[in-house]
Symmetry: C2
Subunit: 311 residues, 2 copies
């Protein structure tokens, strides 16, 4: 079964890893949000791509979900002595990724080409694609003004109250090579349990992607479990946008794009309302605490896709 997964950072990376453990490599394409990307100290940093690749390459920090296992922080410590901004955690090994990406971009390589090269170096077999090779920037509109995503998320620890989102450059940005083709030829597209507002929505904002998905079988996995986000500000964002956070709210958020929806067993009481939206549902354990959980969830979702969405 040909599968496309749309993913943001840590939560998306876990399910992407689970899917990679279940599917032949040539059957899985992961399309990654790049609207969190930013330039810091002159370096181009792509947090979600890095989290996805480190996870798939087995070199991610298992405790945090982001950054690299066995990371050291010598440069960051030296930056502190220079009173430099150190709100973004730059590990010594992680820095090499940013340095080499920046160097290759300056030499004219595309983000897709660089990502493909990194995947090859890290032994990643499945296809990882940035959503676009053009820069797109999530701006979080807050009660403290407009903030680029990383500042909102890391520097201000998502404390400002959200009023809206915009994805600068998205409508002019073309999907990266292979993205539309992968969606058009897939048997199922999976929205990973990533933040709908700032991880999946930016991908959907890229020219042509939403249209391609409307012709696909799409299953979303709820990142809201028991009314809370497993990680990050997703639940807080729903609340501040005036919507009580719930699995159902996630299903409504994606609306007519979806054919199926995966929610946690703790939210099974919402299945009736979600089915009333015309969606097939799967209630299962969605919390991924270890690699086995990832694989188990991926297997369940793929079985659900095979059985329920055939018709």
């Amino acid at each position: 079964m040909k599968v496309v997964a749309l993913a943001g950072g840590v939560g998306g990376a876990k399910l992407a890893d689970g899917l990679a453990r279940c599917l032949p490599a040539q059957d899985l394409t992961i399309v990654v949000n790049t609207a969190d990307d930013f330039t810091h100290f002159g370096l181009r940093i792509c947090p979600d791509l890095d989290t996805i690749c480190y996870t798939l390459g087995g070199i991610a920090n298992p405790d945090t979900g982001w950054g690299r296992a066995g990371e050291t922080w010598n440069t960051l410590e030296a930056l502190k002595t220079l009173e430099a901004p150190t709100w973004f955690q730059l590990g010594d090994q992680d820095l090499a990724t940013h340095l080499e990406r920046t160097r290759r971009l300056a030499e004219g390589e595309t983000l897709s080409e660089i990502t493909q090269f990194f995947c090859q170096r890290w032994g990643i077999q499945v296809r990882v694609l940035p959503m676009s090779d053009s820069p797109v920037q999530t701006i979080v509109e807050t009660d403290h003004g407009d903030l680029p995503f990383q500042e909102y998320f890391v520097k201000y620890r998502f404390e400002p109250s959200v009023r809206g989102f915009r994805f600068e450059g998205a409508t002019q940005a073309a999907a990266a090579p292979g993205v539309l083709e992968a969606i058009e030829s897939c048997e199922v597209a999976i929205f990973c349990p990533s933040n709908p507002w700032v991880s999946i929505d930016p991908i959907l904002a890229i020219s042509g992607i939403r249209q391609a998905l409307l012709r696909a079988r799409v299953i979303a996995v709820s990142p809201i479990v028991g009314g809370k986000a497993l990680k990050g500000p997703a639940a807080k964002m729903f609340e501040e946008m005036g919507i009580p956070p719930s699995a159902q709210a996630v299903a409504l958020h994606y609306g007519s794009l979806l054919k199926g929806f995966v929610l946690d067993v703790v939210d099974a009481d919402q299945e009736v309302q979600i089915r009333a939206l015309g969606l097939k549902t799967l209630a299962t354990d969605t919390v991924m605490k270890n690699p086995n959980d990832r694989q188990r969830l991926a297997e369940k979702i793929l079985a659900f896709a095979r059985q329920e969405l055939k018709g």
Copy 2:
């Protein structure tokens, strides 16, 4: 006695450190070559400024003369796994300097301002000035084509044969704030035992600096001892430019700019010819193996300046 020292990297840094140990901080200005500066992985790297500042700040690697003491190489090791160019040795702590410099330059600060800030952080009391705040680039013309200095020096280990030098941007570049004033008000200007072709000459090429030095009392310290360079390609460059390397050749190279010349005792037989050029001379131990040597040489040079150049 107000002193200005012109310096390149390791050799210059040693004498600059010796002078800083002898003079009240407000009496010493060090003007540093920045024509070796280059952009690597998107970062602005200023090798000579860093060597000077690390040395003056007491944080230089005492074994190499460049880089930082207790340095680690975790990012460089990770870069190797990405098949990135690693011919330039980027230490983890050194990287912080490049990152913060790059960030501040992008924010609109000048190289002078950034250098002043770094000096303050590193407890450096004497004034360290880049020769210019504008980019100047040494191009080494070789039998393997034109090479930017760092590529010639580090990547190709100064193996290509030299045919000439040019300092791109030098004539349009203004001296950094304070440089001309320091030269105009100094009692003695010292050319450190740095490479005449690629460390001191680029400084002299900056608009106004040579003219200001013509009105100053200038003493050069020979970087050629016993016909050889203590470090780097200075002797090889003299040879390839058709000039047998010697202390006398260095004196002739600087020509009418000089009033005095310091050579090593092993070259004392050249004193007669150098005096015949109209220069006062001091033959002394010029090889600086430790901080005591630096201070002793600086004291000798300052005493020489006081006695011989008064008239």
